[in-house]
């Protein structure tokens, strides 16, 4: 699984072609930890079609704020570098993420 941070975010997400799905999580966030196995499964299911990666907001708070992420868990989908949709909190579930991806594939 890719890990995004302030060093590679521009290149890997904002300058990337195609779909990139970013899992914004934090070290104190239990719902984020609970969601991770699901995110990993989906990464396998969508391999080759969508690039999946995680971003630790505890380490990169400013980067998260710059992306207007202020609540966890938040999953954001980028297409050719622009934000096309997101799943926040209760919507950050398998169902929510799959429907976001299917709408944009």
């Amino acid at each position: 699984m890719l890990e995004f941070n302030k060093e590679n975010f521009q290149e890997e997400v904002l300058d990337a072609k195609g779909l990139v799905l970013v899992d914004y999580w934090g070290e104190g966030c239990e719902p984020c930890r609970a969601l991770m196995p699901t995110f990993d499964e989906l990464a396998t299911e969508y391999e080759g079609r969508v690039k999946f990666g995680k971003l630790n907001t505890t380490q990169d708070r400013r980067l998260a704020l710059s992306q207007r992420v202020l609540g966890l868990p938040t999953i954001v989908l980028y297409k050719d570098g622009s934000r096309v949709g997101e799943c926040i909190k209760d919507n950050a579930s398998r169902e929510g993420i799959v429907s976001l991806l299917e709408m944009n594939l």
Binding site: A34, L70, I88
Partner: protein, 315 residues
């Protein structure tokens, strides 16, 4: 998956895990269904100081992890599944899930509760954009920023104090003129130099374009409204909401007897109005919703479920 369990427990917070422990230890075939995360609301709590005899420096997650361990050591199974419907009236209870049909001789509903929302304009649009119901998840985003907390109970003040570890200032807005929270907690909060208090007031609207930039507050005594804006240098502020809970009762509405607020009514044996169906924890109509009362409910429900199964299915 199609199998018949002695007991199926729906919900994996402290009530469900305690029921699982007692049921499995009584040699019942036991399945615990959990929706998306184990642990329930306590998982989001940083400090659990009032659970008697618990491990030192217990946190919600550490307490839950230990409960899961105990549960599994006695042979309870756990499964991630979303329950979509239930047929509870027959001798065999049918639980329909997104993972298939599950059958049970008895059912323990440990469905829990979830945070109540403010119900004001701007709240839904700005959830995850400055509006939060989970301090451990989101407080660190507000490092050196200002935060408003709505609520007046233990949770509001305790979580407010937790947020002061990050935020520059935390203002608690409470609808009454005194706090409902335990005295020791109120005293501690009052001494916290980063905390400020506004009484007799509640929210009217949350303001912001994409992120929270302000909040309109009404004073109930004078009827006056005041807008609190984010400091212009910050450009953003946090709103944390701790104003109580609502029962997770979608599955049992119109099926089981509930009180006016929608919590399941049981007798002191945790039995609902349907034989073989028990309720435990926050979903139950009760006077104190804490881990210690949830695990007590779970234990009673499991023991009663065992008695029921023995009596009803005796060959």
């Amino acid at each position: 998956m199609e199998s018949l369990y002695d007991v199926v427990i729906i919900g994996a917070g402290p009530a469900g895990l305690s029921a699982g422990l007692y049921a499995a230890r009584a040699k019942m075939s036991t399945l615990i269904l959990e929706r998306d995360k184990t642990g329930g609301q306590i998982s989001g709590t940083e400090e659990v100081a009032n659970y008697p005899g618990s491990i030192e420096d217990a946190t919600g997650p550490s307490l839950v992890a230990r409960m899961v361990e105990q549960c599994e050591s006695f042979g309870a199974k756990r499964k991630k599944a979303n329950v979509t419907a239930m047929e509870l009236n027959g001798k065999i209870k049918k639980i329909h899930t997104d993972q298939g049909l599950i059958e049970a001789k008895s059912v323990i509903l440990a469905l829990g509760a979830s945070p109540r929302k403010l119900g004001v304009p701007g709240e839904n649009e700005l959830t995850g954009k400055g509006v939060s119901y989970c301090a451990t998840c989101d407080a660190e985003f507000f490092t050196d920023l200002e935060v408003i907390v709505f609520g007046g109970g233990d949770t509001a003040l305790e979580e407010g104090m937790f947020i002061t570890k990050f935020a520059r200032k935390v203002t608690v807005v409470h609808r009454r003129d005194t706090f409902r929270a335990a005295k020791s907690i109120v005293e501690k909060a009052m001494k916290n130099p980063k905390m400020d208090f506004i009484y007799n007031s509640g929210p009217k609207e949350i303001l912001g374009d994409g992120i929270v930039q302000g909040v309109v507050i009404e004073n109930f005594e004078t009827g006056e409204t005041t807008t609190i804006n984010a400091n212009p240098d910050d450009g953003i502020m946090g709103i944390f909401v701790f104003i109580g809970y609502l029962p997770e009762n979608e599955l049992i509405k119109d099926v089981l007897k509930t009180d006016k607020q929608g919590y399941i009514l049981t007798d002191e044996n945790m039995l609902t109005d349907i034989p073989g169906v028990f309720a435990a924890g926050d979903i139950r109509s009760k006077s104190l919703r804490q881990v210690v009362t949830a695990v007590s409910d779970g234990a009673i429900a499991a023991v009663q479920a065992e008695k029921y199964v023995d009596a009803t299915f005796e060959e």
